[in-house]
Amino acid sequence: MRPIKQALQSKAADALPSLSTAVWRHHHVLDLDDFSREEIELVLDITDAMAEVLQREVKKVPTLRGKTVVTLFYEPSTRTRASFELAAKNLSADTVNLDASKSSVTKGESLLDTLRTIQALGADIIVMRHNHSGAPYVAARHINASIINAGDGWHAHPSQALLDIYTIRKHLGDLTDRKVVMIGDITHSRVARSNIWGMTTMGAKVVLCGPPTLLPCGLKEFIRRCLPSQVTVETEIEAAIRDADVVMPLRLQAERQQSGLLPSLREYIRLYQINEARLGLARPHALVMHPGPMNEGIEISPEVARSAQSVIEEQVSNGVAVRMALLYLVAGGRN
């Protein structure tokens, strides 16, 4: 795997200036189900430009000077929130971080009142994470500011999917026909859902693998109707992971055992943990990815998490560049 800086330089040196005709029409970024392939590629290409800024000694450009970006998180987060805040600051925007658990939400203030207040304070872009699926869509209907979804319930996490796609493209190039395997608690995973939309739009073949109790009801019917040739479901890890280009275990929450969806963590580990033996069934260049935070020893063995094939830390770095690209695109004007 070439280091990022080398890869960027060779791309810039060979590339003749291109006249991209891609157009950006999104006032909000809620999910990837309404992004065309051209739009995703536009985000990825602009991410390359932002990654170059992040390699400078002074990682700042004046692009969003005078704009205010407010993060509003109803659920805890380390990487996503810090990532959006840093992305905004790198673009010279002013940032405010609101933690719902330390705000007037605890006094009973509603989501819409909170959002209207934030808008009245001068927010141009609101980055929100909420435990209810659909919350950012409600926000988008009632608020003029741009809404970026940082995760809503089990439903969507578009910036995570974009950084996953960017990471894969950086190492493996074109995603067409690449086999991307996501393993684990698909039912409760907004990362899996946004990745299903994003990766299939980029031409990849997605395999969803997990115990039947953690695969959503109606999944097979949904695939049959919407993405028949691109998504398959497997309950056997060996079949799923064989010849994979990307192996992405998802975090298994301990609560799943308590709620009766798993007989025991030990059984999950025995049947689904990504360990070195299973990773050996994938292609030799296969990437190991994880949205984080990891439960080392549960869905992923510590050896695999630290292996040479793991790009987990790089995903986090790429996340800042991807989010800079999204903020730039969304800030760039009304439709």
Partner: protein, 184 residues
């Protein structure tokens, strides 16, 4: 009604670039410590051509890079819907060097203002100079070019179009008269 008329042929462009290359060498008393930076999009191949001409004359390689000013523009909200950004790629440290910005058309000067801000963020050059293929007038900022291929006075309703082989498949400079206000 739109009319497009050719003002510079490929030979005219070539001669202008050769003259500019000589002027750069003369002004800087040689080619040492020069870094050429082409502005996206058509300034980039022009910078590369200047680089190879100077190299032929002086016998030393000239570091050449590209700059995208999209992130430094002063008109984000009025930006057209096509927001592409190329990575900026300058292969050397510009501190203490003479940076020569290269652009195809010099008009209001706002792009050059943004370019200077970008260059200052990347280091502390000894000087920033500007080479343009065409100066069409109508400056809105107190900025001037050091090296000019051709001065073409225009009215605001006209447009200068530069075609370069590396991007458009041919070399020429045309003037487009449409009878409508426009331009940046």
């Amino acid at each position: 009604m739109v009319a497009e008329r050719t003002l510079l042929s490929p030979e005219d462009i070539r001669r202008a670039l050769v003259r500019i290359a000589h002027e750069i060498i003369e002004r800087n008393k040689g080619a040492k410590d020069i870094v050429l930076v082409g502005m996206q999009t058509r300034g980039v191949p022009l910078a590369r051509r200047l680089s190879s001409i100077i190299q032929q004359i002086e016998g030393i390689p000239i570091p050449t890079g590209s700059l995208d000013i999209s992130l430094y523009r002063d008109d984000l909200s009025r930006r057209p819907l096509r927001p592409y950004v190329h990575p900026t790629d300058i292969p050397v440290d510009i501190t203490d060097k003479n940076v020569v910005l290269v652009d195809d058309v010099f008009y209001t000067g706002r792009s050059i203002r943004a370019a200077m801000d970008a260059i200052m963020d990347l280091g502390r050059p000894q000087s920033i100079q500007l080479a343009v293929l065409v100066d069409r007038g109508h400056r809105e900022l107190p900025i001037r070019a050091d090296y000019v291929g051709k001065n073409i006075p225009t009215s605001r309703s006209e447009e200068i179009k530069v075609y370069v082989t590396e991007v458009d498949g041919e070399d020429k400079v045309t003037i487009v008269t449409s009878g409508k206000e426009g331009g940046t």
